[in-house]
């Protein structure tokens, strides 16, 4: 187990010129010993590259990696004592399930009775005990992936266990089960776990801290509620939540705030003197309001969908083409298509973003 500090940048191409050439832009990050982290972002955002740099499969082109303060940039995964589980199951075809699980220990010369005990424990944990003597090659994809997970967890003394979208091939109902298993294992063993995924539900339920990444940049690190309530970057607002945050153009003026062409009487402290801004408000926090209410905008309802536990309202801000989405409780009176409604956009959870897409006003907690 180890605390992991990163201070690096990476480009796969030699002599990178612009930001486009970098898979990972310069970043500084720390993973605390025993923490459960998720790297979350769309395909191609650099999260797998970051993971492979931590494990040592990829050497960063600039900067380095430290484990417990010791520079390990030049060390192999083996020397770093890392366990990693990949997106698709990797099993050794000619071995049985038990031999597969024992392989990382056997290669390190662990005593046979300790191997047997450890393999038994891991198999128990992953519910593979009944299949220990079967050939791994003949098993279904999810059982194979459990073997891969098992090989990642079989060593007790690892610096960290890294997961690269490990549940991609698993059926949805098993996904929940395995994710719960992983959380449980994390609680029992207190290993440092880093989990790469593009699925926000997976990231937010698994990890204590989620790193949101886009285009080679880590835009925010935080807990689920921080990412939800205080996105530090428009991308986080857009990527987290379903649907994502509503964004409206805003302009701070002497007499108040102008949002999507409408003048709102009040101007929050954070926006004063900031010029052109983007207002962000989550669909969950948009409320229906009486006509002319403070901090509310008129909008024409385009669509109202019943999503089961809530209604999803899509409306166009009057006099413009900005669309906003609102989640309404089914107990409210749901407006009809074509009606004009007033929606409160200014509230305690409304965020403002500057032209660099960064949140303004409040600094990161």
């Amino acid at each position: 187990m180890a605390r992991i500090d990163l201070d690096l940048a990476h480009a796969y191409k030699p002599n990178p010129r612009g930001d486009e050439d970098y898979a990972l832009l310069p970043l500084q990050m720390s993973f605390a010993d025993g923490g459960a982290y998720a790297l979350l972002g769309p395909s191609g955002c650099g999260k797998t590259t970051l993971l492979n740099i931590v494990s040592g499969l990829v050497k960063p082109s600039q900067g380095g990696v430290k484990f417990d303060g010791v520079d390990v940039t030049k060390r192999t995964p083996q020397q770093r004592n890392i366990a990693q589980v990949f997106q698709f199951p990797v099993i050794y075809d000619t071995m049985t399930v038990a031999e597969n699980l024992a392989f990382p220990l056997r290669n390190r010369g662990v005593a046979p009775d300790r191997i047997a005990r450890r393999v038994g424990q891991v198999a128990e944990m992953l519910e593979l005990s009944g299949q220990l003597n079967q050939r791994a090659a003949g098993l279904a994809a999810d059982a194979k992936q459990k073997i891969s997970l098992g090989r990642g967890l079989v060593r007790e003394d690892v610096s960290a266990v890294l997961f690269d979208e490990p549940l991609t091939v698993i059926d949805p109902h098993l996904k929940w089960q395995l994710r719960r298993k992983l959380k449980q294992i994390h609680h029992e063993l207190r290993l440092t776990l880093i989990y790469v995924t593009h699925d926000q539900v997976e990231a937010l339920t698994f990890a204590e801290q989620v790193v949101v990444m886009t285009r080679g940049r880590a835009v925010q690190i935080g807990t689920a509620s921080e990412l939800f309530d205080r996105p530090q970057h428009t991308f986080v607002g857009h990527f987290i939540g379903s649907p994502g945050m509503n964004f409206l153009p805003a302009q701070a003026a002497e007499s108040g705030l102008e949002v999507a062409g409408h003048r709102l009487g009040v101007a929050p402290e954070a926006t004063r003197g900031k010029g052109p801004l983007t207002l962000g408000v989550r669909p969950e926090y948009l409320r229906l309001a009486g006509a002319g209410s403070q901090g509310a905008l008129p909008a024409v309802v385009m669509q109202a969908q019943d999503i089961g536990t809530y209604w999803l309202l899509t409306a166009q801000v009057a006099g413009g083409d900005s669309l906003v989405r609102a989640r309404l409780s089914p107990h409210e009176a749901i407006p009809k298509v074509g009606e004009t409604v007033w929606l409160t956009v200014l509230g305690p959870r409304t965020c403002f973003y500057g032209q660099d897409q960064q949140r303004v006003g409040e600094t990161a907690p």
Binding site: L57, P77, V90, T94, F103, S148, R151
Partner: protein, 294 residues
């Protein structure tokens, strides 16, 4: 009872016709010859299985068969491990990879009789590079004089000619292994030997099966190269089955015995391929299941 769609037979008719004209009819001609004594184009006598009996008792043929099996065995033992080793040492990407691929494939592009001719000159101890070099080392080497030297030269020629095929097949098989396997092995702390034993070799099973079958069948039918190089000599030390067959059928025009022998030859290849195929299918799939139950 399920209804049977008899029209389906029409769909396989073209294939049946093609196979009939390309394989079954010629084979039937051979069957026809094998049970008759062809005295002249007009005169023929039905002799039943006599040719089969006499051919099976023929010492020359038995000798050729044993030499043939020994040769094919030696070819497999040398070429398969060498091909794997070659494939493992070839570069995976970059211009080196293309250059090495072309170089390795060169010997496959040379016509068989030219291969024989090349080695005939190459192995001569007066002017041939190989033969002269061996002679310089003080070793008495002559592929025309010594049965052992002739054998080694034929084997060496086949290894030179065909190992690249095994190497190319294995190379393709190796490139098809996803990177994740090597990464996982590196994280699991596997040695190079363990990577070969537990990842590369099992993943090569499919292409190796094809390589072994191809090299076995080809070497079992070898004709041109030893014919050009040694003419089957010295004595009949390098007379393999096909050359023996050609001597009988075309040289002496013994159509009946030659036809009977062709059929036996065909059945031997079929049988050995069947055994090899089944054995290789079982290797690596069955052993662990049995161990698991045991």
């Amino acid at each position: 009872m399920k209804p049977v769609n008899q029209k389906a037979w029409l769909l396989i008719l073209p294939v049946v016709l093609c196979v009939a004209f390309s394989a079954i009819l010629p084979l039937m001609t051979v069957v026809n010859y094998s049970v008759q004594d062809i005295i002249s184009p007009e005169r023929r006598v039905f002799v039943g299985l006599d040719w089969f009996k006499s051919v099976l008792r023929d010492d020359d043929l038995q000798g050729a068969l044993i030499r043939q099996i020994g040769f094919s065995f030696a070819v497999l033992v040398v070429e398969v491990p060498l091909g794997i080793a070659l494939a493992l040492s070839m570069p995976a990407k970059g211009w080196h990879a293309s250059a090495v691929l072309v170089l390795v494939a060169v010997s496959l592009l040379i016509p068989w009789n030219v291969v024989g001719t090349i080695w005939q000159i190459y192995g001569r101890s007066d002017i041939g590079l190989f033969g002269a070099a061996i002679a310089r080392l003080g070793i008495n080497y002559s592929y025309t004089g010594s049965a052992r030297d002739a054998w080694l030269t034929v084997l060496l020629m086949d290894v030179w000619h065909w190992t690249p095929l095994v190497a190319l097949l294995c190379y393709a098989g190796l490139r098809a292994i996803p990177d994740a396997y090597y990464q996982a092995a590196s994280i699991d702390g596997a040695s190079k030997l363990a990577v070969f034993r537990y990842i590369q070799l099992p993943k090569l099973r499919g292409v190796l099966m094809i390589a072994v079958l191809l090299r076995f069948m080809d070497s079992f039918m070898i004709y041109t190269e030893p014919f050009v190089l040694t003419g089957g000599g010295p004595g009949n030390a390098t007379t393999f089955l096909s050359q023996y067959l050609t001597q009988k059928a075309v040289g002496q025009f013994d159509l009946g015995p030659a036809a009977a022998f062709s059929l036996i030859y065909f059945l031997i290849i079929l049988l050995l391929c069947f055994i090899l195929y089944n054995w290789m299918q079982r290797v690596g799939t069955a052993d662990k299941t049995e161990a698991g139950h045991g």
